[in-house]
């Protein structure tokens, strides 16, 4: 049995295939592809090289044109600032022992939540997140008070203190939830998109045009549910956006070490659906790409994979020592802070002054501070209600 498997081993073959000394001339496709990839890069990518191939991909993008109005621009700035300041406050509260468990912050990725969610219709379209869900909830309109008090485990939390950081829910704001297991939110989001189609096509309700956005990371794209749901979404032309927040890392697993085709958006083609890659640090670019995808979805033209190249500015969670990511890489991405970028664009185009943006920040800081005092003062869940919410009737 053992001899047979060695003699005809696929594993043995593939070992040789990877070894350049032993590889036959006809299997030297890999170096050639690397060369093609290198050729595609613009020359001024020194910093990007130090920051890795993810950054090199990003270097190929140019900033999206400023197509928003002053009001839209300020709204986007406000939303991203809320996300950032809220998360900074969470870190502070975590270290002060006000919240517990695993807390995954979103710093650096704000352009994705804001770019996509603010291009959708609040309380009409649906949103589905992961354990890194605070900012998706805020962008969807869940009040900062409800999110903060959930993190404090209070009765006033959006999940009544039963969920915690990784399980934020709000039916009112069409937040399908934060899901703590990798990939499990994707099918749930698919179900919401299915309901939209069902109401239109099975029940004849022409007004049913809600679109669902599912947010998840690069690491999650190696999970079967991603592929299964891409297949079903394309098969039934469901109104859904698969928003990949490719921040290059899945805890300590570098994206290139985990996947055979690092350009995730290309996987859409295998399912015959639209795929697009976008600079995930450029909120206007994300917004424009999301608008195209939402339009397709609402028109009944089916799903889109939207790969947003982004980066998290903090460790995976507040418990992560963050030892694997290089300083050069972090420095490269810090330069591309999406909030600073939008501020520069708005000021540069004369749509807003530095003072106005400062005033927004001050307002946001007050809103976040208010969420903390609200959460501190809020009641704990009633212990006599420990078993409430198990069943639909209670």
């Amino acid at each position: 049995m053992l001899e047979v498997s060695v003699g005809s081993s696929i594993g043995f073959d593939s070992f040789r295939w990877l070894d350049p000394v032993q590889s036959a001339p006809e299997v030297q496709a890999t170096p050639v592809m690397t060369q093609e990839f290198a050729l595609k890069l613009p020359p001024e990518t020194m910093a990007a090289e130090a920051a890795g191939s993810h950054a090199q991909r990003l270097a190929a993008f140019t900033a999206a044109p400023l197509t928003v109005s002053r009001e839209e621009g300020l709204m986007l700035y406000r939303d991203m600032t809320l996300g950032r300041r809220f998360e900074d406050k969470c870190a502070e509260m975590y270290y002060r022992g006000k919240m517990f468990g695993f807390v995954h912050l979103y710093n650096g990725q704000e352009a994705v939540a804001t770019g996509v969610i603010k291009a959708m219709k609040a309380q009409h379209d649906w949103f589905c997140s992961t354990y890194r869900d605070h900012v998706h909830a805020l962008s969807a309109g869940v009040p900062a008070r409800e999110v903060m008090s959930e993190l404090f485990g209070k009765a006033t939390g959006c999940s009544k203190g039963r969920g915690g950081s990784m399980h934020l829910f709000s039916r009112e704001h069409h937040l399908l939830g934060g899901y703590a297991f990798i990939g499990e939110g994707i099918p749930v989001a698919l179900g919401a998109a299915f309901t939209s189609r069902y109401k239109r096509d099975a029940l004849g309700d022409a007004s049913s045009d809600s679109v669902t956005a599912a947010f998840f990371g690069d690491g999650t794209c190696n999970n079967g549910q991603f592929f299964e749901c891409l297949n079903m979404a394309a098969l039934w032309k469901l109104p859904i956006l698969f928003v990949v927040e490719n921040n290059k890392w899945a805890i300590g697993m570098a994206h290139e070490r985990a996947t055979s085709e690092p350009e995730i958006w290309r996987k859409a083609a295998a399912f015959g659906m639209a795929g697009e890659e976008v600079d995930g640090m450029d909120v206007l670019a994300v917004r424009a790409a999301a608008q195209r995808a939402i339009e397709r979805a609402r028109a009944g033209d089916g799903p889109t994979v939207l790969e947003c190249l982004t980066y998290r500015f903090r460790g995976h969670s507040l418990a992560d020592p963050d030892e694997l990511r290089s300083e050069a890489e972090k420095a490269f991405w810090a330069q591309r802070d999406p909030i600073k970028a939008l501020a520069a664009q708005l000021i540069g185009a004369g749509l807003a002054s530095a003072e106005e943006l400062k005033a927004i920040e001050t307002e946001i800081d007050a809103e976040v501070a208010d969420s903390v005092s609200f959460a501190l003062a809020a009641p704990e869940p009633d212990p006599t209600e420990l078993t409430r919410f198990i069943w639909a009737e209670d």
Binding site: P187, A192, Q225
Partner: protein, 327 residues
């Protein structure tokens, strides 16, 4: 009324509920054009169309998760496991999403879903197709579990499960689909949480469910002849147990045994006897007994397969001993 086969009773229940409520839909492999691998959704595709009877790709975890999302947004999906064993792939969706989500969300969402399909040991189907998932899923909070055993209860329980606003795991049995019976007239439902006293008796309580009900009935005939008066209870509801019916019976007979098709370790009977010990310890005149399947993968060979699950003669012997107290 003419006699109805169990699979048709289930089909009629689904048909009637789909006609009654446009939000009710079916997801699963081969449930549509093919009519279901045990014909439980026969002709419903033609009647209700491709969206309401959705033929899914073979992707159990994702279409089960999709049912959760659909239920959260207003639909009432029935998910068919082509064989219940395949839903091991959807364990995460059934546990984390169906069972826990309402609680975790602090009551934001309800998940009105039915997950149904054939389980149990059939005729030489091999280990993987002969599983009893009810035991594996028993610890999951927030789901109801029922097991049907006759055309009458199959129809009434299916209708109740569809109307229930909670997730219901609905166990059918591969060997019971062709049972035939005259059904009650009209639109009836059966309570999801009530056991059925199949035969009243005074000597020994037998608690059973699904196909083992029929093995017990065979045993009861012989036991009658031998003067053992059995109270046979079909649990129907495996979660929560109908403790009221169970304790009432034990307070009468003072002797109890469980006959189950799942394996002994971590089985339904294990939980049941723990509960009985907690609630009826002083009522018992003999130690409670468990007749369960062997703790092994179900073998293919027919004779070995028969040795794996409980047979009527073992029930006869155990009940006789339980009555006389001679172990």
């Amino acid at each position: 009324m003419a006699e109805t086969l169990l699979f048709n009773a289930l089909r009629d229940a689904i048909d009637e509920e789909m006609a009654r409520d446009p939000m009710v839909c079916v997801f699963g492999e081969d449930v549509g054009q093919y009519g279901g691998s045990y014909k439980v959704t026969k002709d419903l595709y033609e009647k209700y169309g491709q969206w309401r009877v959705l033929d899914t790709p073979i992707a159990e975890n994702s279409f089960t998760g999709m049912a959760v999302g659909a239920a959260m947004t207003g639909l009432r999906p029935i998910v068919e496991g082509m064989n219940m064993g395949f839903l091991l792939l959807a364990f995460n969706q059934i546990s984390n999403n169906m069972g826990m989500l309402r609680y975790t969300s602090g009551g934001n969402y309800t998940i009105p879903t039915v997950v149904r399909g054939p389980g149990g040991v059939g005729r030489q189907l091999g280990a993987e197709h002969s599983q009893r998932l009810e035991a594996y899923f028993h610890a999951v909070p927030g789901i109801k579990i029922v097991a049907v055993s006759t055309p009458t209860n199959a129809k009434g329980l299916m209708k109740a499960a569809i109307r229930d606003n909670n997730p219901v795991l609905f166990f059918e049995h591969v060997l019971l689909y062709n049972l035939s019976e005259e059904l009650p007239e009209g639109d009836y439902i059966c309570a999801l949480d009530q056991a059925e006293v199949v035969r009243p008796g005074k000597d020994v309580t037998i608690l059973t469910y699904s196909r083992m009900r029929h093995h017990c009935l065979k045993a009861v005939q012989q036991l009658e002849a031998e003067g053992v008066d059995v109270e046979l209870i079909d649990l129907i509801s495996l979660k929560p147990f109908d403790l009221e019916t169970i304790t009432r019976s034990i307070r009468k007979t003072h002797r109890v045994m469980v006959v189950e098709e799942c394996m002994k370790t971590g089985g339904i009977g294990a939980e049941l006897i723990a509960l009985i010990t907690e609630h009826c310890f002083d009522d018992l005149d003999a130690r409670p007994l468990r007749l369960s399947s062997q703790d092994i993968p179900t073998p293919y060979n027919g004779a070995l397969e028969n040795l794996t699950i409980i047979q009527p003669h073992q029930i006869v012997k155990a009940a006789t001993q339980l009555k006389s107290g001679s172990f």
